[in-house]
Amino acid sequence: MTKDGYIPSIGLEVHVQLRTRTKMFCACRTDFGQPPNTLVCPVCLGYPGVLPVMNEQAIHLTVLTGLMIGARISEYSKFDRKSYFYPDMPKNYQISQYDQPLCEGGTVTIALDGERKEIRVVRIHLEEDVAKNMHFGTSSGIDFNRAGHPLMEIVTEPDIGSPAEAHEFLVTLKQMLAYAEVSDCNLEEGNIRCDVNCSVRPADQTALGCKAELKNLNTFKGVQAALEYEIDRQTELLSGGGTVRQETRHWDAEAGVTRSMRTKESAHDYRYFPEPDLMPVVLRRELVDGWRKTLPEMPRARRARFAREYGIPEYDAGVLAADKHVADYYERTVRCPANPKAVSNWLMTEMLRLLAEHDKDIRSIPLRPEALAELIKLLEDKTINMTTAKELFAELFNRGGMPGELVAARGLTQVSDTDALERMVMQALEQNPKSVADYRGGKKAALQFLVGQVMRLSKGKANPKVVAGLLTKKLDG
């Protein structure tokens, strides 16, 4: 509900680029960032005489997505030609699905402020992506590398009630798709694009208001910001006695406003008809059930299982389960075996931090689960201290190896022997009379400083607990 008592209704049309090696209807690669017009063939260029051939993996991934959201997988579906002329269209018709899509129905459950809400999905269908336009001075350039990339379109009912919910929907969807490896969902690469329908109505009205369509939303935050603006705009209009026009509006992220787009054709006449070059897709129950078995455990279920099976807090489970590959890594490490809470701590702190800093994927780092498990054991056995452990972690992260070997080779074993430490403790006390005085004067924090001094003297190898104990004895005694 807006502050003026209007209820927003938001529907999304999300276009997701599927994670296939080749395009939807030809065998060109789908790599991103290649020089223009280098990943093309007569088919995706719309040359005379070419014919499309369906990429089975694209069908598979779309069906998996449908299964994940509990949609009905159509036993019979087909492709249609959607005709319109535009420079980014190699054939000036797009092969899409009109009235018999691959999936119908289903829901995506979002959680916001502790509340759960089900957003209904109308349908999921498959189509081919268009080329990329670039604008120069008096001309536009077209790169067909992207043309023909498989695109999955997910259309929701207008169940979304606020910009925050829309954002959460997209985040949840992205997580689900990344989990099932359906899409890389990399916004910079344009893997996931969104059009939004938005209307508001007075609280006492049941029928939805007139909706506007928002385009050019390139980030999830952009979706949220655009919706916030648009809802305000519509609310102001209506409460001022005006009416909302059904139109397409362009989001200007810099100015923070939506603007009515130049009216092109009032409504496209797409002249849909069944694609004669492609045969129907018949998905019988046995095939779909077989594909259902290839679905990974979903994030929500995995989080619950982590908390239950490994006895870690909900919060930890949530962080770990958020990314499928991090979750996989976690489980492999715990099964080495290693203490679940310790593994969780290391992943949530050092691991995620270093992954972000170095912009790496956890699957590509040399630090193997077995090595992490060994590091944790060395720490538990008090063979090494935390400082050493953190340094080793960083090194293993960058260069691999096994911590036990490194500790042995470099003599990194923690020094806990009191005799050995005694000398350094004495030295630290002698070198820092002020801290001694501070401590004896009531500043307990000075102890930590002195511990640090001993650590420095021991080149980090002293067992800090033992050091603290020795210092305390000497200072208090």
Binding site: G46, P48, G49, V53, S83, F85, N92, I142, F273, D277
Partner: protein, 494 residues
């Protein structure tokens, strides 16, 4: 002795195998024949002299080395809408000026693999839209039986060249009769395979659910030979069917004993041209003499076939031809302010009248508010037409009909009224709608000396049957040996 370029392909293969001629000699003679008669006929849009001779030379060498391609060293003519790597593929249209095909159509690749030599590109109605080759973007082709007459269309160049001995065998395409009707008008053999029998990959699309590639040849045996090479499943064509390719030549040896032939009453209506009726009836009688049984069948939805065809074909064509916009290849009209203007001007300048007509009709029948009344209705009518044939083939093995309601007419005679031209396709379009196969064989001449042909229709994948019937009939007559007046002279040195 007959000159080489006037022999059938199987005769040439015999001589090549026996070593009594070379492929180079065949191609040289063919090029000379083309020089002699094509200035009158205009069947060729381009002739690949050097390349063809080079390929013939290579074929001779390969043969000497033990090479065994089924068509090794045989020159083949190609209708201008088949993509041949490195050659222009203009579809007889100005909108494709400048376009060079970077790939081979599958049918072309298969011919190449069997050693065929591509000798030139043959004239056609622009984008295969027409029944007389008068819609070519360049010039009409003339009928070798009477150069004032049309050769038929859209594969008019292919038919005229084969009939005139200016081409040993040619590829054509058939969407509504475009192989069978010109073959009939020019007195040669033409075969439309079952839909899905031959890959459409590389065939510039006119109507996707109707188009098929097929041979135009001097006799039925040659057609069987060529079909064997080009037929077969292609993973690049999702509409191609995975059915084994039989030995079509073996099918030719059987007599007509035990064959039942159906005569559809709807094709022999009261108003049918008397000469056509008599010639076809004589052919029917000959088939009975050869051992076939005759039965009457009915194809009740025949009168609706033209309407059904012109809705479906133009609808599919309107989408298939949308890609010709000057962006990626072909003609582009410059000095346009924006892409919309560029498209409009390029397409207006590049397409001829008939193409524009069909694009507009096709766009209309798919447009909002009209889809149900036209396109959807036509697809349902198509089901009824298909069922007519299925029912009829329950009573007979093949169906005999005339190919066209008239023989070849004069150039310009039917260009005034497009509808007149469309109505002349009545006997050929049903086979495309039903997806079945059809063969045209010559069966007579009119009083004016123009060819009349018999059409033999078979069920889906019934090519062995129609080839058998066609061959038996052909071998019992001399029609296939008749030479048109404007054919290349019988001696190469004339």
């Amino acid at each position: 002795m007959s000159r080489l370029s006037s022999l059938s392909v199987h005769e040439l293969l015999d001589r090549l195998a026996a070593g009594t001629c070379t492929s180079v000699a065949i191609v040289e003679d063919l090029l000379s024949a083309i020089d002699q008669c094509d200035p009158t006929l205009g069947a060729y849009l381009s002739v690949e002299r050097e390349q063809a001779l080079a390929d013939a030379c290579a074929a001779d060498a390969a043969r000497a080395d033990g090479g065994r391609g089924r068509l090794l060293g045989i020159p083949v003519g190609v209708k201008d809408l088949l993509n041949v790597r490195g050659q222009p593929c203009g579809c007889a249209s100005r909108i494709l000026e400048g376009y060079k095909a970077p790939y081979d159509a599958t049918a072309i690749a298969r011919l190449r693999a069997e050693g065929a030599v591509f000798v030139g590109r043959l004239n056609m109605d622009e984008f295969a839209m027409g029944s007389s080759t008068e819609n070519s973007g360049y010039r009409p082709t003339r009928n070798p039986w009477n150069p004032a007459c049309v050769p038929g269309g859209s594969s008019g160049g292919s038919a005229a060249a084969v009939a005139a001995d200016a081409c040993c065998i040619a590829l054509g395409t058939d969407t509504g009769g475009s192989i069978r009707q010109p073959a009939g008008f020019c007195g040669c053999v033409g075969l439309k395979p079952t839909y899905g029998r031959v890959s459409r990959y590389g065939l510039t699309a006119f109507a996707s659910s109707l188009d098929q590639i097929g041979p135009l040849s001097r006799d039925v045996r040659d057609a069987a030979l060529l079909l064997r090479v080009i037929a077969g499943h292609d993973p690049r064509d999702s509409s191609s069917v995975n059915v084994p390719v039989p030995d079509y030549e073996a099918a030719l040896e059987q007599s007509l004993d035990g064959v039942t032939l159906g005569l559809p009453e709807e094709y022999f209506v009261a108003g049918l041209n008397a000469e056509i009726r008599d010639a076809v009836q004589a052919a029917v009688n000959r088939c009975r003499e050869l051992g076939a049984e005759l039965v009457n069948v009915s194809l009740p939805h025949t009168p609706y076939a033209i309407a059904t065809y012109y809705i479906i074909a133009t609808a599919e064509a309107s989408a298939n031809l949308a890609r010709y916009d000057g962006v990626r290849y072909g003609l582009r009209v410059k000095d346009a302010a924006d892409p919309v203007e560029m498209y409009g001007k390029t397409r207006a300048a590049g397409f001829g009248d008939e193409v524009k007509r069909r694009i507009i009709l096709g766009t209309y029948v798919l447009s909002s508010g009209y889809y149900d009344a036209y396109y959807l209705r036509a697809q349902k009518a198509r089901t009824l037409i298909r069922r007519d044939f299925e029912r009829a083939f329950g009573k007979c093995d093949a169906i005999l009909t005339p190919v066209a309601p008239t023989a070849a007419y004069r150039l310009g005679e039917k260009t005034e009224n497009p509808l007149d031209m469309y109505l002349s396709d009545a006997f050929t379009v049903p086979a495309n709608l039903a997806g079945i196969c059809g063969l045209a064989v010559p069966c007579g001449l009119t009083g004016d000396g123009l060819p009349i042909a018999l059409q033999i229709l078979g069920p889906a994948f019934g090519e062995p049957t129609i080839l058998r019937v066609g061959h038996a009939y052909e071998q019992s007559t001399d029609w296939h040996a008749a030479r048109p007046p404007a054919a290349a002279p019988e001696n190469s040195d004339s």
